[in-house]
């Protein structure tokens, strides 16, 4: 049994509306900020422990391959954050 953290981001060039909204909010608070991009983080535990299963989940459901990319990292228990 292994845990994975999946980070999903919009592909470059695809309009990131939440990112633009957050960028405006930060600007309104007086911060100088470059491009802001907003994505999703999904953590899950896989009984089969297979990274390939997580990858398949992303391709079929968790991400939309047309507009999003994903990265999968294993969460190592006990590791310091």
């Amino acid at each position: 049994m292994r845990s994975f953290r999946i980070t999903i981001m919009l592909k470059p060039g695809v309009l990131d509306a939440p990112g633009q909204a957050v960028e405006r909010g930060l600007g309104a608070l007086g911060y100088q900020v470059g491009q802001v991009r907003v994505g999703k983080v999904i953590e899950l535990i896989l009984p089969d422990g297979e990274r390939a299963t997580a990858d398949e989940m992303c391709a079929r459901f968790l991400a939309n391959p047309l507009i999003e990319t994903w990265a999968i990292e294993e969460i190592v228990q006990g590791a310091t954050q």
Binding site: A17, K40, L66, I67
Partner: protein, 232 residues
């Protein structure tokens, strides 16, 4: 003929669609729950608008995995007319029954107002009774309605006549100003390769009675009758 309207948790145009089809157009309507496994006896299906499953993950993504979708795929494969309106359009793209996807509006704003679309293809049961070039007035109400597909795919859709509706001005001119959401090529609706599955962002059910300011949407539903009779 018998219509089915699918109710997902978070659908909010389901009752409007039932009303338009049953009370305005005068057809028989079966209300289908998202957990139903069968669509037996249904001639044509509507996936209504709303915010199914709270739009979690992506609009339409969770609904695309609902138990009823297996039967929806079978119905679509048999050639029955299937219409996805707004969130229903998003569900059909997430289910892989229609190409492309719907992005956040370029304006970053929820757009809710009357819009005009030009019929681009009569090769679908929902437009078989309409001449290409016909301009229809129907409301839009969405935050994520910008149609997107890679350029090569859009070109293929155009070549195949699968762009069914395009945003236009009241005179039928496709202009950037008439495009409410930044859709590529002003696309408001597309069809499957076979033409029987159609998705669009504007709401025909909200433009089915004079009381609502337009009866243009009704023509999509009425078009299906002729198409089914014509198909024998």
């Amino acid at each position: 003929m018998i219509w089915g309207v699918v109710f997902f948790p978070g659908s909010n145009c389901d009752r409007d669609c039932v009303h338009a089809l049953r009370s305005v157009v005068g057809h028989t309507v079966v209300e289908v729950w998202h957990e139903d496994q069968s669509l037996d006896g249904i001639d044509a299906l509507v996936l209504p608008g709303g915010f199914s499953y709270g739009d979690y993950l992506r609009s339409g993504a969770i609904a695309a995995t609902a138990p009823v979708m297996r039967a929806v795929r079978e119905l679509a494969a048999r050639g029955a007319p299937v219409l996805g309106i707004c969130n229903g359009f998003q569900i059909l793209t997430e289910a892989g029954l229609l190409p492309g996807t719907l992005l956040h509006n370029a304006s970053l704003r929820f757009r809710c107002h009357p819009a005009w679309v030009r019929v681009e293809s009569d090769r679908t049961p929902f437009t078989a009774g309409l001449r290409p070039g016909t301009v229809l007035r129907m409301p839009v109400a969405h935050g994520e309605g910008a149609y997107f597909a890679p350029p090569a795919e859009v070109a293929a859709l155009e070549d195949a006549g699968r762009v069914v509706f395009r945003y236009c001005d009241p005179h039928g001119r496709v202009t950037p100003a008439a495009n409410p959401n930044g859709s590529v090529a002003g696309i408001a609706g597309v069809s499957s390769d076979s033409g029987n599955v159609v998705g669009l962002m504007p709401h025909p059910e909200r433009a089915s009675e004079a009381l609502l300011g337009s009866i243009d949407g009704r023509r999509l539903f009425e078009s299906v009758i002729g198409a089914l009779v014509g198909a024998g």
